[in-house]
C-alpha cells in the first residue's frame, strides 16, 4: 500500500468519524433547540430540568428511546417494516458528506479539505440521496399495515416527488451560473461575484420552499399531519425505530440548511475576509464558523416557521407544487439563462 493511499484512508476515516459525531450531536441538540425555541415562541419555559439549562435533555431522551419496547404490529410486513427506519436515516446522514464546511486547513504539512468527499458531481449526489428518503417514508407507511400510515406514506411520496421537480429546476440556475456540479466550485464562484441568494432570489425562495416540503416540516408536514393521520407513516413505530424517523427529520433539516447555505449564501465565504490577510488556518476556521452561522440561521427559520404557521391541505400542497413552484422555477431558469448568455454577471 502506497503511503499516499494510507494517508488518504486515515484522513477520510478521521473526517468521517468527526462528521458523524458532529452531525449526530447537532441532531440531538437541534431537538432540544426545537423545544426551547418553541417554548420561547409559545411563552413558556421548555425543558430545563435535566442538567444546566436542560442541556442533558437529549441524553435523557436517547436513553428513554433505547429502553422503550420496539413494537412490531402483528400484520406488519416485517422485513420492510424493519428496513424503513434505516432507509430514511442513512441517506439523511450521507448527504452531508459532500458539503464543504470550510476552506482547506493545513495540518501536518498537508492541505486537508473540510469536506469528506470533494466529488465532481456533488450536487447530483445530494439530489440522489435526497430522493432516497422518500422510500423510507413510503415503505414505512405501507409495511405498517395501518390505514393512517398508508395515507401518510402515499401523501409523502407524492409530495416529495412533486417538490423535487421544482427544487431540481431551481438548482439548475445555480449550476448554469457556475458551470460545475462541484460544491466547492459553487462556493468559490460565489466568493468572486456575490452570493447566489441575491441575484437568483426567485430560485432561492423556490428552493427554500421545496426544502421545507422535502423535509416534511410544517407547513408541509402532511405525511405525519398529527391532527388528521394520528402520526402518519410512523404511527406504528416505537422506541429506537421511531427515534430513527425523528432523527432523520432533523438530519434532513441540517442537510437542507447546509445546502441552502452552500448553494445560495456563499457557503464558508465571508465577505471581506480575504482583505484582512489572515493566515490560512485562521481564515479556514473563520470560514467554517461562518458556515455554521449561516446554517444555524436556516435551522432557526425552520423552527420559527413550524411554530407559527398552520398546515396546508393535501390538494393545496399539490397545487402549490405543480401550478406555482414548477412554472415559477422554469421562468426563473429562463431568466438565469438570459443573464448567463449575455454575460451580465
Amino acid at each position: 500500500m502506497s503511503q499516499e493511499l494510507t494517508r488518504v484512508l486515515i484522513e477520510s476515516g478521521v473526517k468521517i468519524a468527526l462528521f458523524f459525531v458532529i452531525v449526530l450531536t447537532l441532531i440531538a441538540y437541534l431537538t432540544l433547540a426545537e423545544r426551547r425555541v418553541s417554548a420561547w415562541i409559545q411563552d413558556r419555559r421548555g425543558p430545563n430540568r435535566v442538567g444546566p439549562f436542560g442541556l442533558l435533555q437529549p441524553v435523557a431522551d436517547g436513553i428513554k428511546f433505547l429502553f422503550k419496547e420496539a413494537i412490531t404490529p402483528l400484520n406488519a410486513y416485517r422485513p420492510v417494516y424493519l428496513l424503513a427506519p434505516a432507509l430514511i436515516f442513512v441517506p439523511a446522514l450521507v448527504t452531508f458528506s459532500v458539503i464543504p464546511v470550510g476552506p482547506p486547513v493545513r495540518l501536518f504539512g498537508y492541505d486537508i479539505p473540510l469536506q469528506i468527499a470533494d466529488v465532481d458531481n456533488g450536487v447530483l449526489i445530494i439530489l440522489a440521496f435526497a430522493s432516497m428518503g422518500v422510500y423510507g417514508v413510503a415503505l414505512a407507511g405501507w409495511s405498517s399495515n395501518n390505514k393512517y400510515s398508508l395515507m401518510g406514506g402515499i401523501r409523502s411520496s407524492s409530495q416529495m416527488i412533486s417538490y423535487e421537480l421544482a427544487m431540481g429546476i431551481s438548482l439548475v440556475g445555480v449550476l448554469m451560473a457556475t458551470g460545475s456540479l462541484r460544491l466547492n466550485d459553487i462556493v468559490q464562484q460565489q466568493a468572486q461575484r456575490g452570493w447566489n441568494m441575491f441575484w437568483q432570489l426567485p430560485g432561492f425562495i423556490i428552493f427554500l420552499t421545496a426544502a421545507f416540503a422535502e423535509t416534511n416540516r410544517l407547513p408541509f408536514d402532511l405525511p405525519e399531519a398529527e391532527s388528521e393521520l394520528v402520526a402518519g407513516y410512523h404511527t406504528e413505530y416505537s422506541g429506537m425505530r421511531f427515534s430513527m424517523f425523528y432523527m432523520a427529520e432533523y438530519a434532513n433539516m441540517i442537510t437542507a440548511s447546509a445546502l441552502l447555505a452552500t448553494l445560495y449564501c456563499g457557503g464558508y465565504h465571508v465577505p471581506g475576509l480575504a482583505r484582512l490577510g489572515l493566515s490560512g488556518n485562521v481564515a479556514a476556521l473563520l470560514g467554517a464558523a461562518a458556515f455554521g452561522v449561516k446554517m444555524g440561521a436556516f435551522l432557526f427559520l425552520y423552527l420559527w416557521v413550524r411554530w407559527t404557521l398552520p398546515r396546508f391541505r393535501y390538494d393545496q400542497l399539490m397545487n402549490l407544487g405543480w401550478k406555482v413552484l414548477l412554472p415559477a422555477s422554469l421562468l426563473h431558469l429562463l431568466w438565469v439563462s438570459l443573464i448567463v448568455l449575455k454575460g451580465w454577471v
Binding site: L218, V230, P310, Y314
Partner: protein, 365 residues
C-alpha cells in the same frame, strides 16, 4: 389485477382531533370523503336518569359534567329552569353576577375552541396563547367559587355567596387586557393565507339546512341566521345589555371562526356594562330549605357557548324531578357534520369538527 375501491377508515374514538370520544366512520375515495357517519355514545353516563334520583340542589353538580368546558352556562340554565318552575324572582345583583360569570365562561370556552381548532389545522402556538388567557379566567372562577372546571357556582334562587372583595376589579383588569391578547391570535390567523385556504369555503352550512337540522349557536349564526337566545328569549336580565349578535355570510369554517372571535369581544362588552351598572343588594332570593317545586312542566333555554342549551323538567311531587331532559347543542349540531363534510377532503373533516365546537360530555350526556 388493478382496481380501485373505497376505503373505510375509523376516525376515533381515540384520535387526536375528534375532541373527545367521537367516532367517525369515514368512507374515502383517496383523500375525498364519500360518506361520513358519526358514532356517539362513548361518554354516555345516563345523567338524565341520574337526575330522577337526586333532589333539585343535588342535580346542579351533575350539570357541571355535561358541557364540562362551559359548566357555568349549564348551571345557569338549570337553575333558571327550576326557578321558572318555582316562580322565584332572582335578585338583580345575582342576575348581573350570573351574566358576568356566563360571559366569562363564554370567553373561556371560545378560547379553548380557538386553541384546539388552530391546533387541528397545524398552528400549534395559538393554543398556548389562548390557554394563557383562559388560565386568567379560571383563576377568576377559582376566586369566586373555589373550582376551576366543575364549578357548581350557582344556587337555586341566586348565588351561594356574594363575590369576594376585589373580584370585580380583577374582572375589569381581565377585560382591559383581553382585546390586545385577542389581537395576537388574530395576527396569527385571520389574514394568514394558509389558514384562510384551510377554512374559507370549507364545510359550508346553508342557512336552510342549519335550521332544518336544528343547529344553533355560533354555528348557525355563521350561516347568517340571526338567532341568539340572549336576544330572542332574554333570561337573567340580558335584555338590559347592549350587544351585537355577529353574523356570518357564507356559513363556512372561516365565518364560524370570525363569529366566535367577535362574540368574545361582545362578551367583554356585556361584562363591562354589568360591572358599571352592578346593583346592590341580596344575591339569593328567599327559597325554602327543601326545594319542592309545584307539579308541572318547564322548558328553559340559555345561550351556551355552543348553542341553544335547553332544560326540560317534569315535576310531579316531592324533592326530585319525575323526568329531566337536556337539549344538548353539541348533540344537535353534530347532526350537521355529514351535510358539511360530504365531498370534502379528510383534512377538512378535522377543520369542520373543530369549527362546530362539540363537547362530547354535552353530546352524550
Amino acid at each position: 389485477m388493478f382496481r380501485t375501491e373505497e376505503m373505510d377508515i375509523n376516525m376515533g374514538p381515540q384520535h387526536p382531533s375528534t375532541h373527545g370520544v367521537l367516532r367517525l366512520k369515514l368512507t374515502l375515495e383517496g383523500e375525498v370523503i364519500s360518506d361520513i357517519r358519526p358514532v356517539i355514545g362513548y361518554l354516555h353516563r345516563g345523567v338524565e336518569k341520574l337526575c330522577e334520583h337526586r333532589t333539585y340542589p343535588m342535580i346542579e353538580p351533575l350539570t357541571d359534567r355535561l358541557d364540562y368546558v362551559a359548566a357555568i352556562s349549564e348551571n345557569l340554565g338549570y337553575c333558571g329552569a327550576v326557578e321558572k318552575l318555582m316562580g322565584v324572582q332572582v335578585p338583580p345583583r345575582a342576575q348581573y353576577i350570573r351574566v358576568i360569570l356566563a360571559e366569562l365562561q363564554r370567553v373561556a370556552s371560545h378560547l379553548l375552541w380557538l386553541g384546539t381548532h388552530a391546533l387541528d389545522l397545524g398552528a400549534m402556538t395559538v393554543f398556548f396563547y389562548t390557554f394563557r388567557e383562559r388560565e386568567l379566567i379560571l383563576d377568576l372562577f377559582e376566586a369566586f367559587c373555589g373550582a376551576r372546571l366543575t364549578y357548581n357556582s350557582m344556587r337555586i334562587g341566586g348565588l351561594y355567596e356574594d363575590v369576594p372583595a376585589g373580584w370585580f376589579d380583577r374582572v375589569r383588569h381581565f377585560i382591559d387586557i383581553f382585546p390586545s391578547r385577542e389581537k395576537e391570535y388574530e395576527d396569527l390567523l385571520t389574514v394568514n393565507r394558509i389558514f384562510k385556504g384551510r377554512t374559507v369555503g370549507v364545510g359550508i352550512l346553508k342557512p336552510e339546512d342549519g335550521i332544518a337540522l336544528g343547529v344553533s349557536g355560533p354555528t348557525l349564526r355563521a350561516s347568517g341566521v340571526n338567532y341568539d337566545v340572549r336576544v330572542a328569549q332574554p333570561y337573567s336580565s340580558y335584555e338590559q345589555f347592549q350587544f351585537d349578535v355577529p353574523l356570518g355570510a357564507n356559513g363556512d369554517t372561516y365565518d364560524r371562526y370570525l363569529v366566535r372571535m367577535e362574540e368574545m369581544r361582545q362578551s367583554c362588552r356585556i361584562i363591562r356594562q354589568a360591572l358599571e351598572r352592578m346593583p346592590q343588594g341580596e344575591v339569593r332570593a328567599k327559597v325554602p330549605k327543601y326545594i319542592k317545586p309545584p307539579a308541572g312542566e318547564v322548558y328553559h333555554v340559555v345561550e351556551s357557548p355552543r348553542g341553544e342549551q335547553g332544560f326540560y323538567i317534569v315535576q310531579v311531587a316531592g324533592e326530585m324531578p319525575y323526568r329531566m331532559r337536556f337539549r344538548a347543542p353539541s348533540f344537535v349540531n353534530l347532526q350537521a357534520l355529514p351535510t358539511m363534510c360530504k365531498g370534502q377532503m379528510i383534512a377538512d373533516v378535522v377543520a369542520v369538527i373543530g369549527s362546530i365546537d362539540i363537547v362530547l360530555g354535552d353530546c352524550d350526556r
